[in-house]
Amino acid sequence: MTKTTHGIGHSVPRKEDDRYLRGRGEFIADIALPGAQNLAFVRSPVAHARLRGIRLPPGAAGRIFTAADLIGVQPITAISALPGFKRSDQPVLASGKVRYVGEAIAVCVAPTRAEAEDLAEQAEPEFDELPPVVDMLEARKPGAALVHEHWGDNVFLETVVEADLDAIRAAAAIVVRRRLRTARQCMSPLEGRGVVAVWDRRLEQLVLHTSTQMPHIVRSGLAECLGLDEGRVRVVAPDVGGGFGYKGILLPEEVVAGWLAKKLGHPVRWIEDRREQLTGNADCREHFYDIAAYADADGKLLALEAEATVDAGAYSIYPFSACLEAAQIASILPGPYTMQAYRCRTWSAATNKPPILPYRGVARAGVCYAMETIMDAIAHEAGIEPHEARLRNLVPAEAMPFDNITQKHFDSGDYPECLRRAVAAIDIPTVRRRQAAQIDTKTLVGVGLSIFCEQAAHGTSVYAGWGIPMVPGFEQAVARLTPDGGLELRVGIQSHGQGLETTLAQVGHEILGIPIDRIMVVHGDTALTPYSTGTWGSRCAVMAGGAVASACTELAGRIAAIGAHLLQAAPETVRVGRDVVASATASVAIADVARTWYRRPQDLPAGVAGSGLEVTSGYKPVRDSGTFSYAAHACIVEIDTDLGGVKILDYVIVEDGGVLLNPMIVDGQVAGGTAQGIGTALLEEMPFDEQGQPLASTLAEYSLPGATEMPKLRIFHMETPSPYSTFGQKGIGEGGAIGPPAAIANAVNDALRPLGVAIHELPITPARLLAALAR
């Protein structure tokens, strides 16, 4: 391999930015098909009710459709093979019952969205209201109203990790326990969801454009719900304006739009608006923890025990199911630490709220918050600095690779060094001096830390156990040399902000040396790309990167065979790189190789590169238990105790994502994730009243982080290669969102300590802060 400034490890400017920055991208709402009609949904105004019927206005036939019209359409069902899991069947239009405010009951078709909404206003669903189950802890109590009656309770799944802690409990010098809650959030990509569906009469195929991050999974789900062969379904993801997990779901709206396009024979279009995004579609992140830790007098962690409940909402979502979040908590709560014993019970509770989806940092933002709160509590009891307590418990570098107490296989890294660098970068002594000199309590200052590791690129062995509708296997890529010597890379993942059109081109360039602007990355279309589970779990750099490398390497072998013939050299004596095939004495351009094979085949003897210059290759890492990137976050906050404001004065991140394919893109990912983590810590919350009504239906009520909430981040890198991935790269797309809630909450509680109060609920809003201060 030869090195240039466009291969891996270089901050190559993003190829896709030219169209994005000039406003020339093509997003779902930009797709205008002749004859398209717009859709609006009649949505439930109540959280829990029997649906007696729906009164339709005169002339509704052919313009308003309800569940009764959807003959043969199957509900969305996402089961898990974990023992005890209770399945939910989510009708794509409510039937029999409504289970959350915003659930779709009917669909209206009209030339414009406004007219479709006029129709929707005239449809009158008739309900027998039922008591709603709004709080996840109440939902678990006997006697609670039942979201799915036939279950007998409101628990999708209970998981148990058992251990005998009696001896440790008796011996522990330090026992700390915390009850912690994280708010329900709404993932808020700049672009919401949307579908433009059309039935292609020539191919007899449904073509469904949708703003998704997993087109192939949506295709399977659509085919199953609509009763079509997968060959009769093509899913196209155009430019997608952010996902974060929000677009990792098969939507009822997608199924309905697909059914309508086939039924009506003209294209249909649904563009989610902000109110639907906030109140009608899936939420995320609502956790409750009761967590206790046992440590010796020096702060050395002996055992951890926890009970965690996740509010999974009304239905199990496709493909991730209702239990991924809670089951993840059980497996990753111990974080980057060593301990002798661990027990954990989790519940995925059903409530009359929208389903939840895995959001960037799936479960880990909450887990890190719980674990790092406990580490601070241990430090306080032991009378040592928080970083000191952590250093006594982190997995040491010499133990790597390390199988932790839940059998997670940490592939590589130096966690203590990461923390030491964060501590060195943040000015703890000055904070301690300011705290000691504090004369009034108008302004309080505090410092907080968090450290975590992040499993990414989960493979077959990890997901087979969950038994959900999707288990990642070999990741595929197609590498095609074009007749003029350009390279097309076709991948089944979907790039929606991650810059994969650039990083994957860098991988192709690294191997073949074809100029980066002659490498085209094709993604987001099931007709053009090989099957993939899509973009989730920080998997693309490792999995799609590995697959592209593998396909390009195989392609290089075929190019070498042709090149060797043209150079009159033995095939084993030539190398491919720098856009040429070279022997010891001469070279031939890859473009000439392409031209020869495609356009002058008469120049080649029979049998040279007979398989062609298009390669589909499958890839799995050497070991598929995932890469583990890790990071330490450290911040200093200042609290305005009059107004309850929290200002971040300094924010340091030390991260290790293994070999970085494009450091600039990684920094962007870290910064963007951190902004979202700040949202989790301080701003974002979807509250519900006791009737299950969502209380934040506009962005005036749902507070998102913006430029004015972002501190200047100071990002530092370590670069420990993963022993299992092609280039040593690790998945790192989510990490930024994981660390901030813990670091910021710890900093706030550090600041509040002189007043003897603490906050154990996220987000830390002015109202919560002022209420805590009033105690």
Partner: protein
Amino acid sequence: MKAASFDLAYPVDLAEATALLARADSRALAGGQSLGPMLNFRLVRPSLLVPIAGLAALRGVEETAQSVTIGACVTHAAIADGLVPDIGLNVLARVAEGIAYRAVRNRGTIGGSLCHADPAADWPTTLTALGADALTSRGRRIPMQNFIRGAFQTALQPGELLVAVAVPKLGAGARWGYVKACRKPGEFAHAMAAVLIDGAVRRAVIGATGGAPQMVGDAMPGGLPGVVLARALAEAG
């Protein structure tokens, strides 16, 4: 959410605007930064919408020795950018600059904000503290504290338009303080207070209450209003 159907009639001058607005169920549309979302949420369903932002009679600015008169459809951005004469201490520009964010300021107007009379908006509280007058299409001159009648209520009668706002200039040595408590910069405030000390004038006004801006007498309010008022007083020195 999209608005329910309505008619749109662009008037050529103020007279036509007021005539159109005399029709039942009509509504004036200035910058549309509050009315637009209300239409889309179908919270309001006028049958006739009368856009007035383009009317020259509502966009003028006049300066005299005593005051600056600002047309109702002058945008927050124009004021923030200093396109309106300073009444002193650059007060108006400073207030305008803190309204929402630039895209809203580009379209939102001073008169639209006053007529919408959201208690948490910036102009009702600050213009009350500054002792401004509202000038209407019927020739009425209404002191700001009488113009804002309550939350989302003004003294305007059906078919009457706010034409301009006359803001007295500040005297030499005047001092001004304006503080809002917002979750994020540019958001509607949870509490706000404006303080003007100008010769004999000593005015403190609390906003973002449940009703019209409140003049503060001798007693300091408690809670958040007290906190922001104390800070506004400190800012005014």
